[in-house]
Amino acid sequence: MRSTFMGLETAKRGMFAQQSALHTTGNNIANANTEGYTRQRVNLKATEAYPSLGINRPQIPGQMGTGVEVDSVQRVRESFLDIQYRSENNKLGYWDSRANALQKMEEIMNEPSDTGLANSLDQFWQSLQDLALDPTNAGARSVVRERGNAVADTFSYLATSLKSVQGDLKNELDVSVKEVNSIANQLNNINKQISEIEPNGYLPNDLYDERDRLLDKLSSLANIKVSYNPSGGNALKISEGTATVEIVDDNGKILGTLVDAKSQRVNELSVTFKKITDDNGNISDGLVEGVKIGSKSISIMDFNSAGKVSGLIDSYGYSETLSDGSVVEYGLYPQMLNDLDTMAYTFGTAFNAVHSEGWTLNDFDSDTKAPNTTNSKINFFTLGGVAFGNNSKGAASLIQISKEIQDSTNNIAAAYYDGKTLPEIGNGKNAVQLSNVKNGILTIGTTNTTLQNFYEGIIGGMAVNAQEAERLTTNSTVLKDSVEERRQSVSAVSLDEEMTNMIQFQHAYNASARMITLQDEILDKIINGMGISGR
């Protein structure tokens, strides 16, 4: 026999459940513009029918439904899209930081323009041609000196500016690493909270949202792989568990665990720099040598992992120490600095070689005497006041006009002695040869090319790199945006939809309330209207 009040109970449950649904609808609307918020859905479940099976069950024709209850409040989210999103965001992080670094480099190099290195070399060439026409003209000599100064200054300006941006990149790298660690710690805290809530049978949706938001952010900094560790106790089947975050390389190989869900600990990421000791014994940071995750060291050569951190390392530069002790430098900025050094070194050396073979004005004793036969072999350029050695490193920032030339333009060797006829004061043949250094074939690094072509090659390489970085930034932005759109399509709050739901739940609530009125009338009939016949 069923209870008299069963109908009341069923209607009451209906009201409660619909009210919960309305609350959730309200929460969705309230969070329509919250970043990282995933819309929530109330999973309603019919309560157990009456009578349930058992020895004492009453003999009634069928099972009666007993109403509804809220089973769980769940996020509407597609985790596959999260994986896709993070993968694209990861590439975007890498290419974006690389494109930024290259953009700055392009701005510094400033080619093609009327103010770049190519132009100052052209002007220097011109001044030498002018000198060849009129070698005794003090004005032409001064112009050669000033244009030579301009070439040296341009080299060192470029090198200094590149180094300063490289320094900024290092700061950015340090900040990014700190950000990774800060996110890792926040993730770990969320893991802890989740592990305390889930065993009680709740779904901590807001914590899930916050965790996903952090993981999205982390994915732009480093290539991550997330796996979940289910909570024990009374945890619901649909609960997500705690998250383990691993840093992986581009082939998916695990490099190290950043956030460990099981031990609830964080292994912080750090970047190790090659230590450089200068002549005064001061130690400073050089290029990146390796990466550490917790106590696990990873050689930088194995850290092929996309993301902003990796992009910054590639731009700032990293070095590998080979087994024979030699150090190889990689990366955008070291490469460019190295190219400029090689160029300045080769140019300076070749120019000096031609210059020291020429005759300066002082080599001609006077117009009546026979010219001097011993020339003084003056260098035009020096590296910070010292003659060119065998090492090209730092040449671009050190190259300058030699003291002799700085002291007197008479020391510019414009004349040339071909070994047959002694030159006269109006001889400008060496100036022509000096002007040919720019266009002559030189061995620059390992290639035989002209200075002009070598420089065009440097700029071309940079341009292609920058173009590639920008194209891939655009591509990954488009892909990221399209995944984000699909993700939004699943998870974002639609106000129209919520309104529709609201009406639906409201009507159900009202109808449940009406059921109570009905029950009231029935009970009124039973209690007050029955068994009083004849009264």
Binding site: A32, N33, L102, Q103, E106, E107, M109, E111, P112, A118, N119, D122, Q123, W125, Q126, Q129, D130, A132, L133, D134, T136, D367, T368, P423, E424, I425, G426, N427, G428, K429, V432, S435, N439, Q452, Y455, E456, I459, G460, M462, A463, V464, N465, A466, Q467, E470, D481, E485, R486, Q488, S489, V490, A492, V493, S494, L495, D496, E497, M499, T500, I503
Partner: protein, 302 residues
């Protein structure tokens, strides 16, 4: 696909900023007149741009070198012309002096004129252009005939110091091409010529009344006139060559400028057209945006 208001709003914002980026690109092109603003916009254009600029600078320099070459050749030409005139006049005077009807005073007068013409010749030989002696090879700071440094010998003849340098003064007129722009001054102002003139002058002014060795002197003079003429002819030939180089460089300049422009200059008509199209797209995007942000269902429910 389920679409929400926030997605629509995001999309229309994204479209607008994309549209702004394009507008910015055309604005840059119009403002700078260049197709590219940084090498990565088009690496090939950038590299070519650098190459053509250098070409143009070199061309400009060679043209500057040419004007120097013209200065030398034209001044040398003018000098030789004067020398020719002077030597012709001397020849006339010699022919006149050979004539038996001259009195000693007449001959003396002729001798004095020849003396003056000789001085004139020295003046021409010591021509300076922009402070440089153009008839002394590469020895540009020394006068070929040191007229201040003369000594007088036992016979009362002036002895000049001849320091003529015969090296060629070269100017690079295009890559690797050197052009000689001076004349061999020994072919024009040789010591021998001055010896002849000295002899002539002393023979005329010695008061004897006849010109001794007149025929021999005339013969020597003719020989010198011939060398001067042939030197002048060679100079003319080099001048022609210079003009050829000049016209070639001018052609190259025009071509280089055009290529440079083709390579990197923006096609203004096209940019303006593109800009106009982009502008209308932008307007459409704006208007779409304003339509998309519509009243929601909430507005229609009671």
């Amino acid at each position: 696909m389920r679409v929400t208001q926030s997605m629509l709003a995001n999309n229309s914002l994204r479209n607008l900023s994309k549209s702004y980026a394009n507008l910015g690109k055309y604005q840059d092109q119009l403002a700078t007149g260049k197709k590219i603003n940084r090498p990565s916009d088009d690496p090939v254009v950038a590299i070519k741009g650098m190459f053509y600029r250098t070409n143009l600078t070199e061309n400009e320099q060679y043209q500057r070198n040419l004007s120097e070459a013209y200065t030398w050749l034209e001044n040398s030409e003018a000098g030789i012309e004067q020398v020719t005139e002077i030597t012709q006049r001397i020849r006339e005077l010699v022919v006149q002096g050979k004539n038996g009807s001259n009195s000693p005073e007449d001959l003396n007068a002729i001798g004095v004129e020849i003396g003056q013409l000789k001085e004139d010749l020295i003046g021409v030989a010591n021509t300076q252009v922009a402070g440089r002696y153009i008839f002394n090879g590469e020895k540009t700071l020394t006068a070929p005939i040191g007229d201040n440094g003369f000594t007088t010998d036992a016979d009362g003849k002036k002895q000049y110091t001849f320091t003529q340098n015969t090296s060629s003064y070269n100017v690079e007129v295009s890559k690797g091409v050197q052009l000689k722009v001076n004349v061999n001054s020994q072919n024009v102002f040789s010591k021998d010529l001055f010896n002849v003139l000295e002899e002539l002058e002393s023979n005329l002014t010695d008061g004897v009344g006849i010109l001794e060795n007149g025929d021999q002197i005339l013969e020597k003079l003719d020989m010198h006139i011939q060398t001067i003429t042939s030197e002048r002819a060679e100079l003319g030939a080099r001048y022609n060559r210079l003009e050829l180089v000049d016209s070639r460089l001018s052609d190259q300049e025009v071509i280089a400028n055009r290529i440079l422009s083709d390579n990197e200059d923006a096609d203004i008509e096209r940019v303006i057209t593109d800009l106009t199209i982009q502008e209308s797209i932008h307007r459409a995007a704006l208007s779409a945006g304003s339509k998309i942000i519509q009243p929601t269902l909430i507005d229609f429910l009671r």
